[in-house]
Amino acid sequence: MTTRISRDDLAARIAADIAEGSYVNLGIGAPTLVANFLPADQEIILHTENGLLGMGEAPPADRIDPDLINAGKQPVTAQPGAAYFHHADSFAMMRGGHLDVCVLGAFQVSQTGDLANWSTGAPGAIPAVGGAMDLAIGAKQVFVMTDLLTKQGESKLVAECSYPLTGVGCVTRVYTDHAVFDVTEDGFRVRELFGDNTIEGLEELTGLTLQDQTEERQ
């Protein structure tokens, strides 16, 4: 029985939902993988909040440019048609709602679309927020890419987040290794099931009442 897809398959699944011409910010970590699956024959423009639109792939080792990095501080390139700008302009772009999609990781997503992804709230941990809160509220569609369950088997989809919030009511869709969920006024709706997953099985895993939207889409 298959109930989980791989992280690469999940990245590919997300990439397939991003229309040509979209302006997209891929968060640090797993969401960065989505770039590998964007179709080469389509133009999708990547934004990195440290001041670049039209971000390209990583350079070869001898062409690393320390002045040209992404938000994860990894070396990148700039595509023809790129533009550089300063941090206030970059975050104005995000906060002003000009990005079509951003893809973020998550510790938890609540059924009202609250996102927790910046702090576990563990005592003694050093807090660091970066652009997470700006990204969370700053795109027309906020996609979350995450495993459905923690390593301890707890659901990351929750009735209410117990971790410190990144943003309130901001998530539009959650792509997990088990299924894809839309955040709606009625809570999570299952948009697509991967492998042998069932609505009932997911309700058991998450402890939530889920709406079934899978048929409507077929």
């Binding site: 040209l68 501080k73 070396p75 300063h86 941090h87 050093i126 807090p127």
Partner: protein, 246 residues
């Protein structure tokens, strides 16, 4: 004749007082004014409040300033990184104060200081710990928190080229916080790879007009550039690749 260039990094940081608030440009290492930070360490000012996106990487630059025990407080968005051991140690030891600000609010608060805005309502951080205690308001159906400007006594930033009026251009994503920090400090001090003749920067392409700049010092090209062209052969920290043709 206006001439904002100074001869050395020592001259550039002269007069910085203990207790100053200093903005330091850069996002991680990109655009970090390492030569100016080294001069600031040698200069000796202490009890500083630092505004930067991060809290230092490795053991150089801002991390070295922290390690030297000169920083009382840091205002930043992302202190914890894989190589932020200097900050981590000070923070855990209770030896440094941290004001954590979402990155976009940090940038906008710096801009607001430079633009004479008294305060602004931002949607970022609403309903989170980082908005606790802040004034909140609903405008047009959306919730916002009130954020205040961050201004500084000094800004230390890094640019690619500058002229004697202080006009600046940057390089790629090393631009980051430089242009807004330059506007928000009483005294803005800039290290450039190269100073150029007045009039040689195209007025259409000047990113920071000289009005925001007080001192300019040339520190020579980055290791990955030669005669203005990118030559590579370095790692992400700018160290030469082994066996590279230097």
């Amino acid at each position: 004749m206006i001439d904002k260039t100074v001869a050395s990094v020592e001259d550039a940081v002269a007069g910085i007082e203990d207790g100053s608030t200093i903005m330091i440009g850069g996002f991680g290492r990109a655009g970090q004014p390492v030569e100016l930070i080294d001069a600031l360490i040698a200069h000796g000012a202490r009890d500083l409040t630092i505004v930067n996106n991060n809290a230092g990487n490795g053991d150089t630059g801002l991390a070295a300033l922290l390690a030297a025990g000169r920083v009382r407080k840091i205002i930043c968005s992302f202190p914890r990184q894989s190589d932020s051991w200097v900050f981590d140690g000070l923070y855990r030891g209770g030896e440094i104060e941290l004001e954590l600000v979402p990155q976009g609010n940090l940038a906008e608060r710096i801009r607001a200081a430079g633009a004479g805005i008294g305060a602004f309502f931002s949607p970022t951080g609403v309903g989170t710990q980082l908005a606790e205690g802040k004034e909140e308001r609903e405008i047009d159906g959306r919730r916002y928190v009130l954020e205040y400007p961050i201004k500084a006594d000094y800004a230390l930033i890094s640019a690619l080229k500058g002229d004697r009026w202080g006009n600046l251009v940057y390089r790629e994503t090393a631009r980051n916080f430089g242009p807004i920090m330059a506007t928000a400090a009483a005294t803005t001090i800039v290290q450039v790879d190269e100073t150029v003749e007045l009039g040689s920067l195209d007025p259409e392409n000047v990113v920071t007009p000289g009005i925001f700049v007080d001192r300019v010092v040339a520190v020579g090209p980055r290791r990955w550039l030669k005669d203005g062209a990118f030559v590579g052969n370095v790692d992400i920290e700018g160290r030469p690749l082994e066996g590279a043709n230097q």
